[in-house]
C-alpha cells in the first residue's frame, strides 16, 4: 500500500493530519497498538518538523506485510549539522513552535527511539529527507 500527503509550511492547525490518517490505516490492518504508537509518534514528530522548519514537503508511506517505510521530503533551509540536531535539547525552533508545545530539541531523538531504522539526508539551502522504518511483525 502506498500513500502520499502534502505538508504545508506553517500550517499548524493541520500538523498531524497525515499521522492521524496513517494511524487509522494501521488500525484497520490490525497492527498491534504498541507498534502503531511507535510509528505514529515518530511520524508526528517528523511531520511537525516539516511544518515548523521547512518551506513545505511530502510524506511518502509504503506499507508491506513486514514493515512500514515513511519518507518525509521537504524543501527548505536543510540541517547544517545533523549530529548536533540529533542531540537532545538542541533546537532552532521559533517562539511560535514553542508556543505549540514543541521546540524542546526532542523531536529527532524521539523519532530515533521509536524507529527501527532512521536515515536523515540534508543539504543546506535545498532541503531534508527523513526516512523512518518500523517492522510490523
Amino acid at each position: 500500500m502506498h500513500f502520499e500527503y502534502n505538508i504545508i509550511s506553517g500550517d499548524f492547525s493541520n500538523a498531524g493530519s497525515a499521522s492521524s490518517q496513517i494511524k487509522k490505516v494501521l488500525k484497520q490492518l490490525n497492527v498491534d497498538s504498541v507498534t502503531i504508537k511507535r510509528i505514529v509518534v515518530a511520524l508526528y514528530e517528523a511531520e511537525v518538523n516539516v511544518v515548523a522548519h521547512s518551506f513545505g514537503g511530502t510524506i511518502f508511506a509504503e506499507i508491506t506485510e513486514e514493515e512500514i517505510i515513511l519518507i518525509l521530503k521537504d524543501t527548505g533551509p536543510g540541517i547544517p549539522d545533523i549530529s548536533r540536531a540529533m542531540q537532545e535539547g538542541y533546537s532552532t525552533a521559533s517562539p511560535q513552535v514553542r508556543e505549540m508545545g514543541f521546540g524542546a530539541g526532542m523531536g529527532l531523538p524521539n523519532i530515533k527511539k521509536n524507529a527501527d531504522k532512521l536515515e536523515i539526508k540534508s543539504e543546506v539551502g535545498v532541503g531534508t529527507e527523513v526516512k523512518i522504518m518500523v517492522k510490523l511483525s
Binding site: F12, S19, Y44, G101, F102
Partner: protein, 114 residues
C-alpha cells in the same frame, strides 16, 4: 479510579460522551510540553495540561491518551471538541493550577509515570 471520580475531585467541566466517565485511569502525566508527552510509553494515561490547542489533541491521539484535563481555567475551543469527538477523547476543563490538580489526584491514588 474512574474518570467520574477525577471530575468530582477537580470540580471539572466535561466535554464528550458521558459514558466515557466510566473510563478507568491508573496513571497521570502533567505537562505543557507536548514533546515530553510524546516520550511517554505507558498506556491509558490521564494528561493534565495548560496547553489548550489542536496540537495537544493531536499529541494525545498519537500517544493513545483518551482523557485530557485542561488546567488553569484554559478553555476548550470548538475545533478541539470536534477533533476529540472524532478520536473518542474525553476533554475536561478545570480551574485549578496544574500543581493543585496533580496534587489532588496523586493524594487520591493516581500514580505518576516516573
Amino acid at each position: 479510579m474512574k474518570i467520574r471520580e477525577v471530575v468530582a475531585l477537580l470540580d471539572a467541566k466535561v466535554f464528550g460522551d458521558e459514558q466515557m466517565l466510566e473510563n478507568e485511569v491508573e496513571f497521570a502525566f502533567s505537562s505543557d510540553l507536548m514533546s515530553d508527552v510524546l516520550t511517554v510509553k505507558t498506556q491509558n494515561v490521564l494528561l493534565l495540561t495548560g496547553l489548550a490547542n489542536i496540537q495537544s489533541l493531536r499529541t494525545a491521539e498519537m500517544s493513545d491518551v483518551v482523557n485530557i484535563i485542561y488546567v488553569r481555567g484554559k478553555k476548550i475551543t470548538d475545533d478541539m471538541k470536534e477533533l476529540a469527538e472524532e478520536n473518542d477523547i474525553l476533554l475536561m476543563e478545570c480551574n485549578y493550577s496544574m500543581f493543585k490538580a496533580s496534587g489532588i489526584l496523586y493524594k487520591a491514588g493516581i500514580k505518576p509515570i516516573y
